[in-house]
Amino acid sequence: MTYILKPQLHHPKLPTNSLGFTRRDYEGSVSTLCAGCGHDSISAAIIQACFELELPPHRVAKLSGIGCSSKTPDYFLGNSHGFNTVHGRMPSVLTGANLANRDLIYLGVSGDGDSASIGLGQFAHAIRRGVNMLYIVENNGVYGLTKGQFSATSDRGSKSKKGVINHDTGIDMVGLALQMGATFVARSFSGDKDQLVPLIKAGLAHKGAAFIDCISPCVQFNNHNGSTKSFDYVREHNEAVNRLDVIMPRDPIQVDYKSGESIRVQQHDGSILSLHKIAELYNPNNRAQALGYLQARQARGQIVTGLLFVDPSAGDLHDAVGTVDAPLNALNEAELVPGAAALDRINASLR
């Protein structure tokens, strides 16, 4: 398969952000996914979020595993470095990249097969370590790229396109992320841009392991009646706990919310999450309650979306390891190589 690069013509009237970039500058190559694939909507949301956050595109490193979902980093942030790694192992590569340069923003994109099946272990351990990243699973409940086999998030009892019944319990990635200690946990839906874009912005601004489980219907293999990852099912059973705005420090604080229905959370970088609760009084600062809430709703067949948990003062892996403030990949010889005199001392101690 070959494809043509998008002409990089700037429309004179395209709005620019304060860095002088247009939304176009956050785009990538033309997608090769199926028309209507939920993953493309998520790419669009990522582009929108980065544009609105005014991130210098090249300061984002985007990493993925293998799958239709994992192909998408080619389709956004074309000036950024990207890494299509191996199936299920993006979390370790992202961890290493993050250790090498703590100054970049790390965006991991994966699929449900990539992260819940083959990569469940790496997913869990990267979260446990508190790697500073936004980790998005584009969850269609199926292996898209290998044509429709069940993944570990497929619903028990669901039927594949070929008529096979799934007997295994589906993994709820949000529940797992909560248990593994993620410090920002959200779920959204590829078709709900209003909810998804602010969540991505907040996740990118969060310091620590941020996770978004984004339901993303596969129009080829899993958008049929009865699938909990189909467009129709999610639209009907979506139980949104909150609506979110991310307010960057320099913006005036918004005032258009009713008292008692919103809370504001300040993140490490100074940005403010403004949560508009539309469902009921939901407190996103309590991990245990988040888990209970999730399970109670799940028992009723509801898919909870929104920001389920955030710890705005979380630390990350670098804090735990105690690394220097400078990126490790910028250290010079004098800082790294102890030299001949030190070696002579070591020799003397070995005689």
Partner: protein
């Protein structure tokens, strides 16, 4: 020997071995009994007398209870390989009594705990009983003390038997237990207890250690520790690993050296990151991620870990990402011989991956080279943008070896390879991530985040053109694979060159060897020479093989290839990569998990030379 009224402490054989500074002592112990430090003390005391030693642990894969051995070769002549055979057995393990006794050479000696009578039927050895348990029970209250000091007491007894100066051991104890005066005193007393017993009841043996000046400025260090120090000097900043014998101590040593040498003075913060990953797949994933992002990163593992890392190693080859793997080889799979030594990962590492892949291997022969190659591996990985293996084995990695002191030239610079900077890009340098520019097969790379509009690219295994854009064109794929071959050819001149050791006489026979076989090989060559058998020798230190390796083979009628594995892996690699006629390369193989011996090599080669025809080569059944 003086007579005594005690029950027969000495059963003397008619013929006794006699030697000064040239004999083999072996300790048979129970794992976890605290014998390791006492045995190490013994070896170092000989060295402090100016006599070189070669000491090797032969230990089980558990923490407590199984038999464990420690073999110390005392060798003023400086033979650091295993000789084969035992002259003095310190038999402290009743479980292995029979086989330990059987190993003593005729005319040799047995030192044992004579508290309870232990029978044996060899009248060609001299048995020396010291009532260690009885002495301990009398001197100490606590069971732990009784056990620990028993070891020190036998060191004292050996000192008296072999003529090692007590003051030398005292000085070592003072170093080892610096600041813990009570421990020093207790050990010094225990030492004297054993020493006095021997002086009173027995007297010295005809095996003697005598002061010499044969150690020189050499240092005594484990290969793993040396390799770890090499990684520090090589500028490694990220280490990810998963515990596996015999590689674990490499990362432990790296950690200790970093804590000592790599903290930012003003803040005490770390100029390194060490991650104990959840498995070897994650370890190498972290290494690849860090390498992609411009750090020098490594992992240390053994065969089972290499198997798990294979997919990533393949990716590193195709995506051209620097990575360093220290493979400390051991025998077989996870349920194999985890605490025994082999050189059996050669093929697995040379070709690890899927699709057409091959990787540079560095083959250190002693801890000195572990340090040098440990540092060099990072330059090579950056220069070649690929995975580089440093192939240790348990023998080098986990035993202390006498080795030349480490040297470092402060003028030496880290070679970060072909990296385009922000200024290069800004100045308009063309950037194609997989573009051949210099004719050496090595493309230029950029670090993520380098420039707002130039230098970004999407990294994937294959399916891309020289500009890293998606392409499934067959011709594009083939071009890229040909370039990777050119790059591998470039590596040929960069990996350590082979070292030749010509025979004293002209000969048509040659021998090729590598790694931990080296000292035993050199001794075997001397033994063969004494028999009038002359062979030119070539030590291989790197893969891809230099032209000199094939020239050497061409110059000889027959070349013996000495390896510590069953399948003659290096021989296969030489043949595959260079199209050598199989009948020309004769495999000599030792793979029972113990380090190869000089006697074995000399015996195998002599036998084949006498027959005048090659055989396939077999390991000895037992030694």
């Amino acid at each position: 020997m003086p007579d005594s009224a005690e029950p027969r402490a000495v059963q003397a054989a008619t013929a006794m071995k006699a030697s000064v500074n040239d004999f083999v002592v072996k300790f048979a112990n129970v794992n976890g009994s605290g014998s390791a430090s006492a045995n190490g003390l013994f070896a170092r005391s000989v060295m402090r007398m100016g006599v070189p030693v070669a000491a090797r642990n032969i230990f089980p894969s558990n923490i407590q209870g199984l038999p464990t051995w420690y073999e110390v070769r005392i060798t003023e002549a400086g033979y650091l390989g295993r000789r084969g055979g035992v002259d003095l057995m310190v038999a402290m393990n009743p479980q292995t009594w029979d086989r330990d006794l059987a190993e003593i050479e005729s005319g040799g000696f047995l030192v044992y705990d004579s508290t309870k009578p232990l029978g044996h039927s060899r009248d060609d050895i001299t048995a020396i009983g010291v009532p260690l348990t009885a002495m301990c029970n009398e001197a100490y209250e606590l069971p732990r003390e009784r056990q620990l000091f028993k070891n020190t007491i036998y060191v004292g007894a050996l000192a008296a038997l072999l003529g090692i100066e007590l003051a030398v051991i005292d000085a070592l104890l003072a170093d080892d237990f610096k600041g813990r005066d009570r421990l020093i005193k207790a050990n010094v007393e225990a030492l004297r207890m054993g020493h006095a017993y021997v002086l009173k009841h027995l007297g010295p043996l005809p095996l003697q250690v005598r002061r010499a000046d044969a150690v020189g400025d050499r240092i005594y260090v484990e290969g793993n520790q040396a390799a770890a120090l090499g990684a520090v000097y090589g500028g490694a900043t990220v280490c990810a690993w998963y515990p596996i014998t015999p590689s674990t101590s490499l990362v432990e040593a790296f950690t200790a050296y970093c804590q000592d040498l790599r903290l930012e003075p003003e803040t005490g913060k770390a100029r390194y990151a060490i991650i104990q990953a959840e498995d070897e797949i994650a370890s190498i994933g972290i290494v690849v991620g860090a390498g992609w992002n411009g750090c020098r990163a490594f992992t240390a593992t053994s065969g089972p870990g290499v198997s798990l890392m294979t997919e990533f190693i393949g990716l590193s080859y195709f995506a051209e990402i620097p990575a360093v793997i220290f493979d400390v080889q051991r025998g077989g799979p996870s349920t194999g011989m985890p605490t025994r030594t082999q050189q059996a990962d050669i093929l697995a590492c040379a070709y690890a991956g899927h699709g057409d892949t091959k990787h540079p291997l560095l083959l250190p022969a002693d801890p000195g080279e572990c340090f040098e190659m440990g540092a060099q591996a990072f330059d090579l990985a950056d220069r070649l943008q690929t995975t580089v293996f440093v192939m240790l084995d348990l023998d080098i990695g986990m035993n202390e070896w006498l080795t030349k002191p480490f040297v470092w030239d402060d003028a030496r610079r880290l070679d970060r390879g072909k990296v385009l900077t922000h200024d290069d890009l800004e100045a308009g340098r063309e950037f194609g991530r997989y573009l051949e520019v210099d004719g050496d097969g090595i493309p230029y790379r950029t670090y993520p985040g380098v420039h707002p509009t130039k230098g970004g690219y999407f990294t994937r295994g294959t399916s891309r053109n020289p500009y890293a854009r998606y392409s499934e064109e067959g011709a594009v794929y083939v071009d890229n694979m040909e370039r990777l071959l050119r790059k591998f050819d470039t590596a040929r001149a960069l990996v350590p060159a082979p070292v030749a050791r010509p025979a004293r006489r002209r000969t048509r026979d040659g021998v090729i060897y590598f790694g931990s076989t080296t000292p035993a090989m050199h001794e075997a060559l001397e033994m063969l020479e004494a028999q009038g058998r002359h062979l030119d020798a070539l030590r291989i230190r790197g893969f891809p093989f230099a032209d000199a390796v094939y020239d050497f083979i061409a110059q000889h009628d027959r070349v013996y290839v000495i390896e510590q594995n069953r399948d003659a892996q290096l021989r296969t690699l030489i043949m595959t990569e260079g199209g050598v006629d199989a009948s020309k390369l004769v495999a000599v193989l030792h793979y029972d998990g113990t380090p190869i011996t000089a006697r074995f090599i000399a015996g195998e080669i002599a036998q084949r030379l006498a027959l005048g025809q090659p055989s396939t080569g077999q390991s000895e059944a037992a030694e």
